[in-house]
Point group: C2
Chain length 338, copies 2
């Protein structure tokens, strides 16, 4: 036998030893294609399928690998849990104490939502630029009124704070409309394709006055909380549209309400709010130039999203079982992927 | 003197003779730049500036050249009127009897609205695909409800009936979202760039079942009236979005209402309706998957539109005064440009 064949047999044997030990629980509604793929990569393992509604604490406690955002309280530092593959890119629900044991690796589904959330942000922006929210209100009053000037969809300067997969997907669509795209990331890195300038968070304030569109796709971390406050809205153009599809608490909600009411900015498109869900009596609901959707852009509402998640999950299970490096491992210090 | 110089002097002389005879009335709110350009091309002519609100029958009757859509009744077959340069691409208001004398040339501003109307259609489509009209209704009830699946903005098959300047502007934006674009024109011609297939009106019915998005940008002519009726909506996909930014009467409104209520199509985005303005008591106002704007996409709400119109108008005045062929001359038989 050649060395290669011997080596390959050895790896196969090792893998099988690891595999037979694992119980995999998945609550993500995978298509049959991906169920088949998961079976293939986890030969010999036990796969349990459940749903977000029906999953029990017992199932969660038993599992070595979990695919999907099971309730954090069910995990309760389970000794069995080795790998938690989230179906979300946000990780904050699992960052608290007494949730994961020290040896659990958490991986996120970052990237899976790029298309869905990017498209949602894009549609919100176009709708606001053409005052379609105002015309919808008029329609509900059977009112055939002309609401005057609109903004152009093309040639805008777009500032994206939190330039990950979602930001890049949004940027690509905006470039199709001849936008100038400025990205902001935590750390200096090479400027990605489709982005005209790349900066770091410290430069936010001096970039704000340049932008026609300001987008927050920031996660919930100690650094990002309330980063968009009174000063930031004052620095924006009067015609600026502010969008948020990251986490609601990157924004000081009261400061945003004031800026919208005073006309310091043109309008806001918010798929996330702080607090969330937004209480019935909150004044933000009734501010006419706020356009609110209830944190739905990152759900499974775009059919492709589920496949993107399943794709990451199956690949990470394969890698884990064969001892390879995992994708999108969450850094517990920052909440970001390493 | 060379022949060329003699010829050029001769043309200059002839032009001046024509020029001195003309009174030009403009009601289009031109920028100073275009006022200056108009002055330059019409040396020796008398230019009267007025507004849509203030223009009088006397001014209209006096003018040899009119720039802008003055009320048709004011024209009353004026013997002086030689050239009516509309600020619209629609021409139907001036096609009736007893409006223009036989010798008046009418030119349209076709092309000037491509950007504005194309953008409006695009924004309406995105908004509908992400259910933003439904979420706006929810917002008005302070309701944080999830409305389920949405449509993707990318990879759609788009059918554009009436592929002129507006259709091409819309098609270009849709190509940026990886759409497959099928155009329909009155007459067979070469397939323009950015369009994947070009067909004629007779093929409409067999193309409808293929489209995710059906757009009508048809003018008001005897041929187009009610072209989208019960049969056409039945032929569309259940998930099809229908858009109209041409003329309202290309659609059988009752058939459209029925198709929307029965869920035969997904939704409609209408910047034009029949009748128009839509009466307060019309049932279309209250059909939730109808998104209505009050025929505003083609107004001057996008600042660039005025410049596009002024550009055409100044060029046509220049051409008329120097005896050159005019742009966008309206054919009184069809209502289209020749």
């Amino acid at each position: 036998m050649s060395y290669d064949i011997i080596k390959s047999l050895k790896i196969k044997q090792d893998r099988r030893i690891i595999m037979t030990k694992k119980k995999i629980l998945t609550v993500v509604p995978m298509s049959d294609t991906y169920k088949e793929k998961l079976k293939e990569v986890s030969e010999g393992c036990e796969i349990m399928y459940s749903t977000y509604e029906d999953v029990s604490r017992e199932m969660v406690q038993e599992a070595n690998i979990i695919i999907g955002n099971v309730p954090a309280w069910m995990i309760g530092m389970s000794k069995n849990l080795e790998l938690l593959q989230l179906n979300s890119s946000g990780t904050d629900a699992y960052m608290g104490v007494n949730i994961l044991n020290d040896r659990t690796i958490m991986t996120s589904a970052t990237g899976a939502y790029g298309k869905a959330v990017g498209e949602h942000l894009f549609a919100m922006l176009m709708s606001i630029q053409k005052k379609l929210h105002v015309y919808r209100d008029n329609q509900n009053r059977c009112d055939w009124s002309d609401e005057g000037q609109v903004l152009s969809l093309t040639g805008n300067t777009v500032l994206i704070a939190g330039l990950g997969n979602i930001g890049l997907s949004f940027a690509k669509m905006m470039k199709g409309l001849d936008s100038y795209v400025i990205g902001i990331k935590r750390r200096k890195s090479e400027c990605p394709e489709g982005v005209d300038e790349l900066h770091t968070m410290e430069e936010l304030d001096e970039l704000l006055p340049k932008a026609d569109v300001v987008v927050s796709i920031l996660p919930n971390t100690p650094v990002t909380r309330g980063i968009f406050g009174e000063d930031q809205f004052k620095k924006m153009k009067k015609n600026a549209v502010f969008l948020n599809a990251g986490r609601g608490n990157a924004v000081d909600t009261e400061a945003l309400c004031n800026a919208l009411i005073r006309g310091e900015i043109y309008a806001a498109g918010l798929d996330v709010t702080d607090p969330e869900p937004l209480p019935q009596e909150h004044r933000l609901w009734n501010i006419k130039n706020a356009v609110i959707t209830p944190h739905i852009s990152g759900d499974f509402h775009l059919p492709q999203t589920l496949d993107f998640i399943a794709d990451i999950a199956v690949e990470n299970v394969r890698r884990y079982l064969s001892g390879e490096e995992l994708l999108h491992v969450v850094d517990f210090q920052t909440g970001y992927c390493k």
